[in-house]
Symmetry: C2
Subunit: 264 residues, 2 copies
């Protein structure tokens, strides 16, 4: 069976894991959540790259067939480096996100909400400029607090009157001519119900297209592990295991049994 490595700065990448489990339920997964170093969203690019290399090495040594960087900031900072370092397919979430937006937008004006670090790297604009046809526009809106909001479960901690207002304020920064909004951080789909209250046109979750991309890659490679037993999902974090467990159980994987802590 295929063995897929997925990583993120914390719980956000679980939204990608969810789509991947749907797309390939017979594959085994190792998920690494670097919550001991979260959030990535306000770190320097170099720092993020160093963290990602450590995680990449860890997953590669676990003999995964492919690595999915289930974090936009990490994709922007480290996709190239990881591809140059490890001889297996490495999949990011940004290009799939851009492709999905280009497909969905009718008036050709795309908006992206993302972390300040991703915005500073022009994570989406850089990829967009390479692959978008003539006539399309893109704008990026850095949203400092949405990621901490999800990691900290602020809806429960502080109340929805605060989380709703914050989402509303961030979305006020999206020009009214934008018809397609990309959730440019893997944490954001957790808040999609709230986001869709204040942005009522197309919303793109790059996780779907990332899962499609993964399926194409898998079709081209041979799995290393030829056993045919039950596929497993292994959760590993660098920080708090309990909060991760509760979050994963509530939002993504009700069958989760265990979260291990391994510092790299």
């Amino acid at each position: 069976m295929y063995k897929i490595g997925i990583f993120d700065s914390g719980v956000g990448g679980l939204t990608v894991l969810k789509e991947i489990k749907k797309a390939t339920p017979t594959s085994s997964i190792i998920y690494y959540g670097d919550n001991g170093n979260a959030p990535y969203g306000d770190k320097q690019e170099e720092v993020i790259r160093t963290l990602c290399l450590k995680i990449g090495k860890f997953l590669y040594e676990k003999q995964v067939d492919v690595i999915v960087i289930a974090c936009n900031t990490a994709t922007a900072a480290a996709l190239k480096t990881l591809r140059a370092t490890f001889p297996i397919p490495i999949i990011g979430v940004i290009e799939p996100g851009v492709r999905a937006a280009l497909e969905v937008s009718e008036n050709k004006n795309i908006g992206v909400i993302l972390t300040p670090a991703s915005a500073k790297m022009n994570a989406y604009k850089k990829v967009f400029d390479k692959i978008a046809p003539e006539g399309y526009t893109i704008m990026e809106r850095g949203c400092k607090l949405i990621c901490p909001m999800v990691e900290g479960n602020w809806e429960v901690e502080y109340g929805t009157y605060m989380t709703d207002e914050l989402i509303k304020l961030y979305l006020e920064g999206i020009p009214s001519n934008v018809d397609t909004l990309v959730l440019g951080c893997t944490h954001y789909p957790i808040m999609q119900d709230t986001i869709s209250k204040y942005f009522t046109k197309n919303i793109v979750n790059p996780a779907n297209e990332t899962a499609n991309e993964l399926m194409k890659q898998l079709a081209q490679i041979k799995e290393k592990d030829l056993s045919t037993g039950e596929p497993t999902t292994e959760y590993i974090v660098s920080g708090n295991t309990e909060k991760f467990f509760d979050f994963a159980k509530n939002f993504i994987d009700k069958d989760i049994k265990e979260v291990k802590k391994i510092n790299l």
Copy 2:
């Protein structure tokens, strides 16, 4: 000596009390903070008016010479009613705020940050339309969370990374041609240092001009209490006394001795 009644939905009006104590240190003050019913900022106009009438009656029966409504939302909702009900001078904070802004603005474009309830009543725009000379413009920006931020001491509770970001997001809604920003809620001067990080042109605190207005009114009336003892400041609230005490001691009146609780 003069006896001045001041009221607000909570601690915000203390910023007005502070200016009044500076302007007339020989007057006695009764301050009523309706924190049991705070925030006023998202209540219906009618509800606010009823609360203000009760407080007005309480202060009037305490034989104050004048009542200062140290709350913009309450001024917008109840100034007229209180003036029609009690035969003593009633002073609000909005007209002084507008007058101060008209004096300070150079390019004639004024912005106001205020509670959603005040914004819904067009609290500033209504007064502005009556007294502003030709050529001036005003825009109001409702800010749902700044008042709760001050009342709940969020800087300590949640951290400045959150309060800074919220202030920044609200101020992003102020057009760049605005050269004068009115703090249209008496809670906001508490956050003035943060506000001035993100709005670097003129900032108007209506409390100063309100104290001037009070001095003009006092000059025209005879005090009822002719004793010449030490002036007193009495603090009364409808809700939590301890939080009010700590707040008043930290931010406004280090000599505060006691806060009474009286429900009206």
